[in-house]
């Protein structure tokens, strides 16, 4: 049994989500190979080769793979899919984009967003925004899986010494082309993998008021997040949304400020180790999941908290 893990990267750095996905592969058991599909991505392949538990790295390097277009990356995965028993992607925007394309072409079902491995064909995954956990068994010859990265502690980034093997890179499908990317520049950690997350909700009241969270995030070395209500109201950018249909986070510490706690939001953060809620409404559902709740006006409590840290 050999497992293929599809690396998440930006052609320069291997993303931590890959290490979580390798950890899920280890739970299944068997040799683990990592596919790096990119352009000028030799450094990524070398980083993947150092990850603990990786037996071999396949590097597909070519211009058609530069921007991670789903059509080309799926062709690349299919080109090497061969005899792998399991093909694992991190359940990131990129992984979710490509994995079903691969599964459909192999005529197999896909298991989305697994949170545990029960055996080599049985897994658990959340359904209904995490309000229920399904134990599911696949009867297909190849299991195509996306892995909820927060559910698996990543393997060590160092210590491995896998061989890097070059494979022929897929050519361009001619169906799609990359136009551009707007990536917010930030010195803060990436939301999905941050150890501390400070999130704001509708209680902040405006985009201007949202900035009250900056000094708190600075003090805690935290990533900033937001509820859907705050994003819809334009207080925070789209990619800050934590919840069922946004980012799933499970930091050591999650600080929810002015967030009422709709089930769709809880779905995205309730696996955090410690949850702090600050809200002036004592009846807010967020207090039902918070380890520490503070019923207070956030506009006085947050600056006070910053001073106390």
């Amino acid at each position: 049994m050999t497992i293929l893990v599809i690396a998440e990267h930006d052609n320069a750095h291997l993303k931590a989500a890959t290490l979580n996905t390798v950890a899920a592969a280890q739970k299944i058991g068997g040799d683990i190979h990592v596919l790096v599909a990119g352009n000028g991505a030799q450094a990524v392949a070398e980083q993947a080769a150092q990850a603990a538990g990786v037996a071999k790295v396949l590097l597909a390097d070519g211009p058609a793979l530069a921007e991670g277009l789903a059509e080309n990356v799926a062709e690349q995965v299919l080109a090497v899919a061969g005899d792998y028993s399991h093909i694992l992607f991190p359940a990131t925007a990129a992984g979710k984009n490509v994995a079903p394309r691969v599964a459909a072409r192999l005529d197999v079902a896909q298991l989305s967003d697994i949170i545990s491995v029960e055996s080599n064909d049985t897994f658990t995954r959340p359904i209904y925004a995490g309000n229920a956990i399904a134990t599911v068994q696949s009867s297909d010859a190849v299991k195509v899986i996306t892995v909820r990265t927060t559910a698996f502690d990543g393997v060590a980034a160092q210590g491995g010494s896998a061989a890097v093997e070059s494979v022929a890179a897929a050519s361009d499908s001619g169906l799609s082309s990359f136009v551009g990317r707007e990536v917010a520049k930030s010195d803060r950690p990436e939301l999905a993998g941050a150890a501390v997350v400070v999130s704001g909700g509708r209680g902040l009241g405006s985009a201007e008021n949202f900035k009250i969270l900056d000094p708190l995030a600075d003090k805690l070395g935290a990533a900033l997040g937001a509820s859907r209500a705050a994003v819809d109201a334009g207080y925070a950018p789209n990619d800050w949304q934590v919840g069922q249909t946004g980012k799933i986070v499970a930091p050591q510490l999650y600080v929810a400020v002015g967030i009422s706690g709709a089930i769709q939001h809880l779905a995205g953060m309730k696996d955090s180790k410690v949850i702090v809620a600050i809200n002036k409404d004592a009846e807010a559902p967020i207090f039902g999941v918070a380890d520490y709740g503070l019923v207070a006006d956030l506009f006085t409590a947050v600056p006070e908290l910053v001073n106390a840290l």
Partner: protein, 249 residues
């Protein structure tokens, strides 16, 4: 240009589902069912394309039980011109739905298929991508902006860390994210009009598609409950607890 919009009937967004005591699934008897919210955004987007004169006809389709006809009527009340239901009582998984949709695409020959990025019941996030693969069409998932021009569609996508824009050759698949648009309220006159629009019913057998499930659900259980926390009286106590009890500072 024809636009095809698949819609799914799901447990309403506001319902908190309960796991059945025998762990065979969640209890959906007597709960409110609605159109999957992302699919509503898809119908709205297609309708706007028609209102702009880009699309000539919007066809809503659904796969599932006979009650999905209600969901299709809602789609037609928003603005779809006609509808088709692939009716079956079999539990449909994303691969099977993608195959049924492919059969409908082969029949209708749309230039654009707009789907919701995921359904809020199984949270799979697969059908659009699978349909694109089966058709060998390009795809743009998680769309927050769609612009059709000539024989291409330019789509801005919500990705980790920001936005990405891709251009696809038509025919193409687009899946919607939350902020693509805000669906209109359905008015009573439009609900009445929708009742008169055409709704065809076919079966998977007529389309020649095998819809047998590939994944077996062994059990459905409650998520681990968080133990109840405490309320702290002030910020000083909060900081003390975080430092000395939770040890996260």
């Amino acid at each position: 240009m024809k636009v095809l919009v698949p819609v799914k009937r799901v447990v309403d967004y506001n319902v908190k589902v309960r796991v059945k005591s025998d762990q065979s699934g969640v209890d959906i008897a007597n709960v409110k069912m609605s159109m999957n919210p992302f699919d509503e955004i898809a119908v709205e987007e297609a309708t706007r394309l028609k209102e702009k004169g880009v699309a000539t006809e919007v066809i809503a389709v659904s796969c599932g039980v006979t009650q999905c006809q209600e969901t299709l009527r809602t789609a037609m009340a928003i603005g779809a011109d006609r509808a088709a239901l692939v009716q079956t009582d079999v539990e449909l998984q994303p691969l099977a739905v993608a195959k049924l949709l492919k059969a409908l695409v082969d029949k209708e020959q749309p230039q654009l298929v707009i789907l919701g990025k995921q359904a809020i019941d199984d949270d799979a996030n697969q059908t659009g991508q699978m349909l694109a693969a089966l058709l060998n069409w390009p795809q743009a998932t998680f769309a927050s902006k769609v612009d059709v021009s000539g024989d291409a569609v330019t789509v801005t996508r919500e990705v980790d860390g920001g936005l990405e824009t891709v251009s696809l050759k038509l025919p193409a698949i687009v899946t919607t994210d939350l902020r693509l648009n805000e669906p209109r309220y359905v008015t009573l006159p439009n609900i009445m009009k929708a009742k008169k629009k055409t709704l065809d019913v076919v079966t998977p057998e007529e389309l020649g598609v095998d819809v047998a499930p590939r994944i077996k659900t062994l059990k459905v259980s409650d998520p681990p409950a968080r133990s109840a926390g405490i309320l702290v009286p002030d910020v000083a106590t909060l900081v003390d607890k975080l430092k000395n009890e939770a040890k996260v500072l």
